[in-house]
Symmetry: C2
Subunit: 167 residues, 2 copies
DNA sequence: TTTTGATATTTTAGGCATGGATATATCATT
DNA sequence: AATGATATATCCATGCCTAAAATATCAAAA
């Protein structure tokens, strides 16, 4: 455990480092939190269920949409590229956890759905997964969590807006 | 069906879900925000400087530690595995942006440092990078950003503590 | 000294992720 | 119908990332 001394700005040569815009520090802290939680969840899903996080995430999307989802829809919701979804889906199909059905409306598209086994398997994992998340936030009180939830909505709005402008 | 919860009137669906869903939603929103920003930054670093985000991140760590860092230290700070750092470092060495120096104290270890060109190159990119981050948070006022910054400290503490317990 | 255990890094194999290119299907106009 | 633009998904090359095993060094005990 490296104790990153918070006051590393004691350097005489502070240049850009301690001049870091508060926004940058905010972003780096956000990233650190996400990595911390994500790495923990990833390791545990692997250790306890032998599944990868991306596969779990894809199944989670399907469980929320029992009518199934098109590949492109999965791509949007998971915020990853289409080619990526193709690969993860291939794996899950090979494991018998999801199926690709031809879309009756659009012959370009597939509808991806959980198989009964996929649904069963996912529900078991999801229960554990959720309890891990609860554990990870257990050190915060409800007010803090609600505040955080609201602030993140503001981040989402702000970042989406700014990103759209630059496109 | 398992009655591990004392909650009466549980529906047929997972009772844990309806009980603890707020934490899960909080986590998913955090993840969405991070991906949104990270994908934007990644694409822009590539488009404007032809560099990948992991390479930029590694250089950023070195710029903050002019005395250089050991591979393992980089791994810890970047929150990625050692093997990963090996690969990224190899690439940066090939591009002439960093060097591996033998540690005088420990013949197992390397000290990785930015080359003068690496430092020059990084500073230029870092300036742009920082301005992009500022843009992305521009839709939030300072009070919100400060609140968020503090709340994330609480997340970090909470998650670290919980993760440590399970190890 | 030799053994033992911990530490530092690389290597390997497999899977995830992007961006770009391709193939095919659909839609909106002619 | 024919045209061209758009949408859907896949394939490819490259690079990131992890976990586990391999290699080498260090430090301290037996």
């Amino acid at each position: 455990m490296s104790k990153k001394s918070a006051s590393a700005g004691a350097d005489t040569e502070t240049r850009a480092t301690s001049e870091h815009a508060p926004d940058l520090r905010l972003w780096l802290r956000t990233l650190a939190c996400t990595n911390l939680i994500e790495n923990h969840i990833r390791a545990r899903l692997r250790a306890e269920f032998g599944i990868t996080l991306p596969r779990f995430d894809l199944m989670a999307q399907l469980e929320r949409s029992p009518q199934g989802l098109k590949m492109g829809e999965l791509s949007k919701r998971m915020m990853v590229t289409g080619g990526n979804v193709t690969g993860i889906t291939d794996q899950l199909v090979a494991e018998g956890l999801v199926v690709r059905e031809d879309s009756p409306k659009d012959r370009r598209a597939y509808i991806v759905k959980l198989t009964p086994e996929g649904r069963r398997s996912f529900r078991k994992m999801a229960e554990a997964h959720e309890s891990w998340i609860v554990e990870l936030y257990a050190g915060m009180d409800e007010k803090q969590r609600n505040q955080l939830y609201e602030l993140l909505a503001a981040v989402k709005t702000s970042a989406s807006t700014a990103a759209a402008k630059k496109k």
